[in-house]
């Protein structure tokens, strides 16, 4: 298949739909919502969009180093593997809700998982 995962999942429209569902899930999850609890919702949403663009293997400009510095303050706040796993759960649930086929969900999850050590600063 020549198309990128990003295109196969539905590109930018899919990112928007996913952010809408996903951000609501994390904000309602007491385990992790403090990491997402900035008052500036527009800035938060931009970050969630970047996250999904990344997980869909879409065009983005992130390097492992960016991932580390972007999440360093969260690690300081105590973010660890259990929180990362909770986010992965919501990622999967969101894509299920959007009826994304299993194999594409697995691809997206693998991409997100690939950033684990950078995000957690390991």
């Amino acid at each position: 298949m020549s198309n990128s995962l990003y295109e196969r999942i539905g590109g930018e429209a899919a990112v928007n739909a996913a952010v809408d569902l996903f951000y609501r899930k994390v904000l309602s999850d007491y385990r992790i919502n403090r990491f997402f609890d900035s008052t500036d919702m527009d800035a938060q949403i931009a970050k969630q969009k970047a996250f999904f663009t990344y997980a869909f293997g879409g065009p983005n400009n992130y390097t492992g180093k960016d991932m580390r510095s972007a999440h360093a303050h969260l690690v300081k706040m105590g973010m660890n593997g259990s929180h990362f796993d909770a986010v992965m759960e919501h990622l999967g649930a969101t894509l299920h809700e959007l009826n994304v086929p299993e194999d594409l969900i697995a691809e997206a999850a693998a991409i997100a998982l690939g950033a684990r050590s950078d995000v957690l600063g390991l």
């Binding site: 590109g11 990112v15 928007n16 951000y23 904000l27 008052t39 879409g58 983005n60």
Partner: protein, 328 residues
């Protein structure tokens, strides 16, 4: 290959190039981020041609209708005249028709304007004093219906512009008015949708405009307006809103007072608490939030958590200057 016109520049968009590519190639300064249609930092406006649908994906309906699109997602299908968002707004002269008090600290300012159909209820414009001092105010009426723009101007302690409007600006004076800005307005689609309008202080202005617009389009879904201020004397148009509610069974109005005891007929408490607790959920509602920035931010998140789609939450986003510190 299509030509793009931007102010005095003409740029040719080559085959395969996006508008963003072409502008960057010509060193035209345009903000961008992801180049993937996600961050929306590259929004520009087409002043003539309708942008391709793909380039408008994910934008709010109101932005779409005004020709805004994502430069990084746009392969032009015809020549376009573009406006970058940072271009300074142009001004035309209006004439003061009414300048009278609405309550103890808020003035009703009505300005006669040519080309009123360019403006929409709920958008904002910049008003300018002759020395260049400029402030943003929201449009509180349906401009094309009367050929006028209506504003509610609260007097702020130490506020140079608002003091000038309250004390010196006279009926008949001419005053420069910018083109309309902002995407906080009503679109007459999905008329059965619920509309929740929450405002503090002169945040009522855009909401009153949006309300009038929705009613004039025969909006059939429920419309709920909550207007709050600290003290009862700082509300205005209370009787007019109550009358409107009597004539329109789908419209309800709740004035809220946040400090002290609320008199009969008023709700005690913060306006967004009152509005959101009255609402089991906001799934498929359209929400408009105007006024104090803290109220807007907090209500935005709560409305979203109650199920409103992000694209259906409209906030009046213009930032008040420090001396215009919000007062609600």
């Amino acid at each position: 290959m299509f030509d793009l016109k931007i102010k005095n520049n003409r740029v040719t968009c080559r085959p395969g190039e996006t508008v963003l590519d072409a502008l960057l190639r010509e060193n035209i300064n345009i903000p961008y981020g992801c180049k993937a249609g996600a961050c929306q930092s590259c929004v520009v406006q087409s002043l003539d041609a309708k942008p391709p649908a793909k380039a408008q994906g994910g934008l709010k309906d109101t932005l779409k209708s005004s020709g805004h699109f994502l430069a990084c997602q746009c392969h032009p299908e015809q020549p376009m005249t573009l406006k970058l968002s940072k271009e300074a707004a142009s001004f035309v002269d209006g004439r003061v028709a009414v300048n009278e008090p609405l309550n103890r600290n808020t003035q009703l300012l009505i300005i006669d304007i040519n080309d009123a159909d360019r403006y929409r209820a709920g958008q904002f414009v910049n008003l300018q004093r002759s020395d260049g001092l400029t402030r943003s105010y929201s449009i509180a009426n349906i401009p094309h219906a009367s050929g006028t723009l209506e504003f509610h101007i609260r007097r702020l302690p130490g506020g140079r512009f608002s003091t000038w409007v309250h004390e010196e600006l006279k009926v008949g004076d001419s005053i420069p008015v910018s083109e309309p800005q902002g995407h906080c307005f009503y679109l007459p689609d999905r008329k059965e949708q619920g509309l929740l309008l929450i405002g503090t202080g002169t945040g009522l202005a855009p909401l009153a405009g949006i309300l009038a617009d929705a009613l004039s389009h025969g909006h059939s879904g429920p419309i709920r307006l909550f207007h709050g201020s600290r003290e009862h004397e700082d509300l205005y148009r209370v009787n007019e809103m109550r009358e409107l509610a009597e004539h329109h069974p789908n419209f309800s109005y709740t004035p809220c007072i946040s400090s002290g005891d609320a008199p009969e007929g008023f709700t005690q408490g913060r306006v967004h608490d009152a509005a959101l607790s009255a609402q089991a959920d906001l799934v498929s509602w359209r929400v408009f939030l105007c006024g104090h920035p803290d109220m807007v931010k907090s209500a935005q998140k709560q409305a979203y958590l109650k199920g409103a789609r992000l694209a259906d939450i409209y906030c009046d986003a213009f930032v008040v200057s420090a001396e215009q510190a919000p007062s609600a």
